[in-house]
Amino acid sequence: MTQANTAQDAPLLEVNNIEVIYNSVILVLKGVSLTVSKGGITALLGGNGAGKTTTLKAISNLVHSERGEVTKGSILYHGERVQDLAPSELVKRGVVQVMEGRHCFEHLTVEENLMTGAYTRRDGRGAVEADLDMVYTYFPRLKERRKSQAGYTSGGEQQMCAIGRALMSRPETILLDEPSMGLAPQLVEEIFGIVRSLNEEQGVSFLLAEQNTNVALRYAHRGYILEAGRVVMEGAAADLRENPDVKEFYLGVSDEGRKSFRDTRSYRRRKRWLS
């Protein structure tokens, strides 16, 4: 949290009290509000089914393609209402999402996958090639596999491919859905390293939904905790890390230091804020 602090106050993306309903019957988000400040890294935390993915999809407008709808509230980007824009329009404005669960184009080669990321760009071949090289330096493994069909690469390789693809559009804001999932520990650190350097060097803002709370809170500036479709806690990342509940339930450390996974005894425990 060094240089980024300076620009952090201007809100870039505002989500005000949105509700999302799938199939017009399943209410998933029950009033979620959050802001992503310009040049900030914002983490969205929460258990399975809390609605992180749905929030990101609501922002990028992909909920429509899952028969979901934002029924209440508003989403503002640069102060402008964006919830009725087509997803491609949003990408043009610089918001790109890395979807949960890889979603590579299976039949395209890794390199073609990356090139589709540059679909909306108009700044010429050279710039695109340069970025391709940049992605390859971030993920050397991709370079090795660049001619194979993405469908036949390993889980982690697909994850890198999806992230690389998003980088290719030179976004202003990236919505990252569980980037660390299925990646080797070393690579997780690397990816967050990339996030930080993009953020600091190029001013890219991030909204990242992440289960790996530990790492996420280490890199983020701000965090929101979502439970059952509601924001239950928010604050600066550093503060959250100190919160005893967060510590116990999200970081897996209790007062005595890190617990062994063998030590967990009971299945049902209550979170204090949910009583």
């Binding site: 309903i21 199939n23 017009s24 019957v25 209410l27």
Partner: protein
Amino acid sequence: MIYREAGQYRTSYLDDGQTFPIRLDRWAHWLLIAVAVLVVPFIINDYWANAILLPFLIYAIAALGLNILTGYCGQVSLGTGGFMAVGAYACYKLMTSFPDISIAIHVVLAGLITAIVGILFGLPSLRIKGFYLAVATLAAQFFLVWLFNRVPWFYNYSASGQISAPERTIFGLPVTGPETSAAVTYLFCLAFVLASAWICRNLTRGALGRKWMAIRDMDIAAEIIGVNPLHAKLTAFGVSSFFVGIAGALFFSVYLGAVEVGEAFGINKSFLVLFMIIIGGLGSILGSFLGAAFMVLLPVFLKNVLTGGLGWPTDLAAHLEFMIVGGLIVFFLIVEPHGLAQLWRLLKEKLRLWPFPH
């Protein structure tokens, strides 16, 4: 407020697996069957039987059959017409070779013969998947039609090349041939429909049904957790063809009385039944009925409204009918891509939440 699950407890696993978990549904279902069996036969006339109910019932059986294969097991088939033809010709050969045996038995045997043919043409499904599999079933479709047209033995060497159903009775009442009464043919087909629906329901709620659905949803994973794809696919082909064969036999013997293979069982029939199950809902027994109703009843209804009611010239009415049917298909898909059955289910889900939407 009546439509609720709450307060209805189930005490055994069998209870839990029953077809209609909600009491109101169950009652509605029995009421419907009671009306179909006890009331309709007394008020039915030739028009309702021959023009509306018979085709509806018979197509419902065919749709059930195809739904097993395509809806439950995920194998796209465009050979329904050909398999119906097998049922029809098998039934014809049986009827004429063993005139003393009950027609009901002939129909079932025709189903079994079709099942064997179906299994045979199902063999390529082991290697060929998705839309590509359609080629195997299309080969069946065209080959079977060609065969029945080409080999005179199948139509008993009649000069016309058509097969026509001689009169056969059940309990002394004619069910085939010219002298049938509306109520008898209706009840005969209804009996087959009810039995088919019940059997389909049983098959799809048990182990076999789960095998099929596993293959449909993800065949590789299914194989890895222990489903033998050969067995699952071929049983689906067999069971499916069995019902389709029965539908074909009834279609020929009870409904039309005389058919020519190319005309009655052409590729259009395959498409028609496929449309029924997609519109009605893949992998849904109710969907088979809804789809059959949609594709059989809607055109008749539109025609009666447009020419009978509004007095349009028949050609404009027919064109408009096409446009409306097409438009409605698209409309329903947009409202609910998973077919009428799913639409119905969602409606009920909403009803259950009513009056508090969330």
